[in-house]
Subunit: 483 residues, 2 copies
């Protein structure tokens, strides 16, 4: 990996600023075509990119094939979303001399792109959260140029993907500078503190993300920083579900926590079960059948080993399956403690552990379960395994919806579908921006800012705000939502 030099970064940012100006003059329909061209080019380059990804990420080919499909699907979905125009939130208030607080001028508001966005790639999704991943797709969809900081875990793939992406975007008519790849940790720090950058987006560790958030907030001119920092993703098995479906719950949990060597930010890391349940034993049995597998890179492997050793050696934690031995490719590890211990000192037991380990938490009654749930910090997801008519369900749902971005009933949190209603976010430390999502079409909103125009002549108004509405975007007119 060769760090981008300060001079190179300076040129990249000048180009991004120039591209931002060009983008402001292009319609969402044009940008949609660029995104579709990028998707087609990436699909076409699969046979070049997937072997590179296999080599650098140690992930298996079927997983990478599926991830590339997700990545190009996402680009096309975001293209359709912006082409339809609702994302502009075009709002037209005609002048009204009879307005209740006094005569109202003609006011029209829409969303405009923020400007150049810095994006940090993640290691665990070398396609879907990397060079052409969700943050890049949503920033480009919003009309913002992207400067992407490559993840050092897959440098060759990053460069190859960037090459395909840039050729496709510029080939489809996007301006030079609409996307650039840069490398190096210091480059990232220079980027987030540069006045030419209007926002940052990041998926990665709490430590790295918080450091960048602090830089973004501490600037002379602070900018939004959308950090997705991680989550322990608690799962809760009610007494009724434990009685009715112990085998199914155990199999589902084991599969979800061990999937991809536990390297998902939505990996369920805590499983609350009734104290007398057979579920911990059943999960342990399942996990013992899972062989060790290589992690994404040695740094992650080491971090996992250290965090696991610390948790496993905690005096209130017992190892049920697997080993805290830090050598070799890690096999899944299951640990156990009690809800009473969580209540006594939650933080050391409920922090994210990135890798194939999880902690079973045994509770004695519903009150204790709810109290333990209330100790949890912000989460990307929280899962309930319950049964119809479960007495605890409404109260538990309320506690979890206050703490998590997504609450599941009867499924498992790994697998984050890209849809209109998806919410991949949550209160800190799950993210640094509680009101936003980094997955799903609403991710585009992070890179927009509203502007109102007062008493502008029709000819000077942006197309989405004109009475003639030449792009046929949905307009809220005088308070009436579009129909």
């Amino acid at each position: 990996m060769t760090d981008t030099t300060p001079d190179e970064l300076d040129q990249v940012l000048d180009d991004a600023v120039a591209a931002a100006a060009v983008l402001r003059g292009r319609s969402p329909a044009e940008r949609a075509d660029w995104l579709r061209a990028a998707a087609d080019a990436l699909d076409g380059a699969a046979e070049r990119l997937i072997p590179l990804a296999q080599e650098e990420s140690r992930l298996p080919r079927p997983r990478l094939t599926g991830e590339l499909k997700r990545t190009t699907f996402q680009l096309r979905l975001f293209a359709d979303e912006i082409a339809a125009g609702a994302y502009l939130h075009a709002t037209v208030d005609h002048a009204d001399p009879a307005w209740g607080m006094g005569p109202r001028p003609d006011l029209r508001r829409m969303q405009l792109p923020l400007g150049p966005v810095a994006v940090w790639a993640a290691s665990n999704f070398p396609f879907a959260f990397s060079v052409a991943g969700g943050d890049t797709a949503s920033a480009l969809a919003a009309g913002c140029p992207v400067v992407l900081v490559a993840h050092p875990g897959h440098p060759g793939l990053s460069r190859a993907t960037a090459e395909v992406l840039i050729a496709a975007l510029e080939g489809a008519g996007a301006p030079q500078g609409v996307f650039a790849l840069v490398e190096g940790q210091e480059t990232g720090r220079a980027l987030i503190t540069d006045p030419r950058v209007a926002a940052g987006a990041f998926t990665g560790s709490l430590r790295g993300g918080r450091a960048l958030f602090d830089l973004a907030s501490g600037r002379e001119t602070p900018i939004p920083f959308y950090g997705e920092l991680g989550s322990v993703n608690p799962a809760f098995v009610t007494t009724a579900a434990a009685a009715a479906r112990a085998e199914e719950v155990a199999a589902g949990f084991a599969g979800s926590m061990a999937l991809g060597v536990g390297q998902f930010c939505t990996k369920p890391g805590l499983l609350f079960v009734p104290a007398d349940s057979p579920i911990p034993g059943l999960v342990a049995e399942r996990l013992k059948e899972v062989a060790g597998a290589p992690m994404l890179n040695d740094r992650i492997r080491e971090g996992y080993g250290e965090a696991l050793s610390a948790l496993a050696s905690h005096e209130v934690v017992e190892v049920l399956a697997g080993t805290a031995d830090p050598s070799g490719d890690p096999a899944p590890t299951l640990l156990r403690t009690s809800a009473a211990e969580i209540l006594a000192d939650p933080r050391p037991l409920t922090a994210e552990l990135f890798g194939p380990a999880a902690l079973v938490v045994e509770y004695t009654d519903d009150e204790e379960l709810l109290a333990a749930a209330r100790t949890l910090e912000g989460q990307l997801t929280a899962t309930i395994q319950g049964e119809e008519g479960d007495q605890i369900a409404p109260a538990l749902l309320e506690v979890l919806s206050e703490r998590a971005g997504r609450v599941l009933w009867g499924g498992w949190p790994t697998g984050v579908s890209v849809t209109y209603a998806q919410q991949h976010g949550g209160p800190y430390p799950a993210t640094t921006a509680v009101g936003t999502t980094s997955v799903g079409t609403a991710a585009i909103e992070r890179f927009l800012r509203p502007v109102a125009y007062q008493d502008l002549p029709e000819a000077l108004l942006p197309e989405p705000l004109q009475d003639a509405n030449p792009w046929s975007v949905p307009q809220r007119i005088d308070g009436v939502h579009p129909s």
Copy 2:
């Protein structure tokens, strides 16, 4: 003014947390009734409140009568907005086995309230940006309890308004703790760093707002901080407009900059005119007719005097009308410089000056005007006085829409109507949250966070996400916007 004690604040916050839990169980229609009851009670208390406001703010009665009307109109408009339910952004994706990236679960997202919000009152709008003002109204509309830090400029009015507001809210069925008034600068610092507070909203000075933003961002758990910090609100007169309407432009500008002794965050503080225009002289003549008037309080008067003296004594600035004499009630002051000086060193000449002073900036040609406009920082507003067919208009509009939250054509920025399309915000230092507005119905969005529910049974889903849709809120279903 008696500072709230730490023990009192602790109780207020415990009550706010308890109220937040109750609010989560109430429908927007119920909250709308509370807001309407508050509006009615405030209107009914006009004869008690307005004299208090006159005494403490030194503002004239007609202005305060209009401001109270604005305040109660705003409460009722926000009530209607939440009752209609579109603000929930209810989004329903049914399970879809044929979804392009692989089978999709049932996913449903809506907006939930953030939790207790800390609000700082402003001095210059003792009703509309104070106890029952826009931040309070939008936070309550979102379903968040409010802890309001009274402005020391109108303590008696603040307490009286809080009394009326609390009685009305609780009388209409809102829980105890839904609103509380606290006092003191240290109380404010304790509030923004308290883990029970979920967001902050502030209207006031750059210095005070930045200090609170830094505290909010530096917390162990950072929270959103919506600071409206101010703006110099540049106005640009094109050569065509200067030739066609010099008298009208001069009269309009003089009226807007001197209105309310220049104590609006939207006061136009910069007026760009062609170098040979009679406008500066015409403005000066108008201003000489305006008598001095008392400012809101002595602290503001002193701050204004210091900032004005500094600007007036700048070697490239000339005084055209009024005086930089800091004694007595200030009469309007008009200063003059050139665009070349702005280009040479913009910051000292383009900072906000809160009070009845403005700087005329003479430019030699359109290129210089555009270049000077590009030096400006983030603004709440920017105004163009132009003519049909003005060559410079599109380029100037583009430069200004990148820098301001609201761009006006042919009017003046004082007077901020509360509407659906209003945008009172802008890039830093106009605000600390570029994607938001503090005026208009969209202000409610600041206090919400999205949550997605996956595969929940209908009976456990919140009402806005149920297929039966018992509240009849607009739902985006499977990507199709409501109609």
